[in-house]
Symmetry: D2
């Protein structure tokens, strides 16, 4: 599969739980960090927007856990972005283990951008993501 | 809505992020802790099973983020359990804010139980969950 | 030992790591949450202060790890507050397991309060903590 | 200062809290990951040892917080290892921001290695760390 953005990671021991594998919630950290790095490269700074009270928020997450990551394993997250409606953006994100390109997790994260009153508000930087 | 199990929580400041709200991944921690407490009350100890190489694993998570929790807010997680097939169990889990019973998050978590060879394996304790 | 404030907790499975015990960093979460709850009861809201650009910050942490906590264990954190200088406050914090009152961790956390320019600044609410 | 090991990092947004800076507890994650990577390069696998019931444990942590890290900042952790006694090892670990080599945190982490009965036990791999 082709991805418009890829980011490399390595499992850190504190991310693993009693079962000796990466805890389920930690994959959301990996996915979030990848989205933010992708946005940053596209000129959108999540932290800066938050300071201006423009908040990029996740409204829905679907995560299919295929195979667990273990201590020390290297992996990468691939990302594609779609825009199903004017105020929604949808990230397809997959995680693969470096060693054998095994699919670890497949996710669809739907988000929007809201202003300080909680209303959908798409700043130009984000609108421009899709004009390319 | 009726739930077969409820658990009370309070947001801790370290769970909140730059946006001043609970980070998206942390809700999975709340949901997991609620499932494990529910299972424990039903005689199933997640940690003990892990030691015996029987691992309860999540295969799919669907999370609808309705409204964010903030510093210090009290909330509760409601849980219902279904069994769509012999080897799958499905948790419906909703999070409500204490203050006004506002719906914060609605989730469906699908899991299974696997043995050390990664094969589906439903121990009696878990099978019995559904025989009541 | 006498404490001016105590808070009860229970270990959550996601807080445990590969070794099957609570990860070292998580104790700092427990300690921070206890400090913030103590401050809140004393009329000081950490999150509110942060919004006003008054930041309570830790400048030094000393943690003696005596014995590990495990999945599902109940414990409590005891806290005492001292003020070694006008602009410093020092929390003595100990963690005990409920079961047998075993000492789990003993910590000394030194903090200060700074304004948006990073200068020490002790708001009245905090100064008043010590006037009682 | 000279370090026998260095590791590069970048702050991830989920590691930052309400104050917009990296949460105090997260620095312990950075320090732990650096120690484990250092040990791994020296032939010592923390996760493997844990499986054999040999646990490397921290007995004391001293952390001096000098200056906070913020969203997106790159930094590195430098490490030196000393052996104050036969059964204790002591890591000096400092964190510096890439941008200007500003000292962010200075830590001393004292650890030991214990067997399944909780007794100090230094495996050959670890003893050998100091024989070079």
């Amino acid at each position: 599969m082709d991805y418009s953005y890829k980011l490399n990671f390595k499992v850190r021991d504190y991310e693993c739980d009693i079962q000796g594998v990466v805890n389920n919630s930690v994959y959301q950290n990996y996915l979030e960090h990848t989205r933010h790095e992708y946005l940053l490269e596209s000129g959108i700074d999540f932290a800066d927007l938050a300071k201006k009270n423009i908040n990029l928020v996740v409204v829905r997450a679907e995560l299919d856990y295929k195979f667990p990551l273990r201590s020390g394993e290297k992996f990468w997250v691939g990302l594609n972005l779609h825009r199903p409606s004017k105020v929604r953006f949808e990230f397809s994100q997959d995680i693969y283990r470096d060693l054998d390109e095994k699919l670890i997790l497949s996710a669809k994260i739907t988000g929007t951008s809201i202003n300080e009153r909680g209303r959908p508000f798409i700043p130009d930087e984000i609108a421009n993501l899709f004009s390319i």
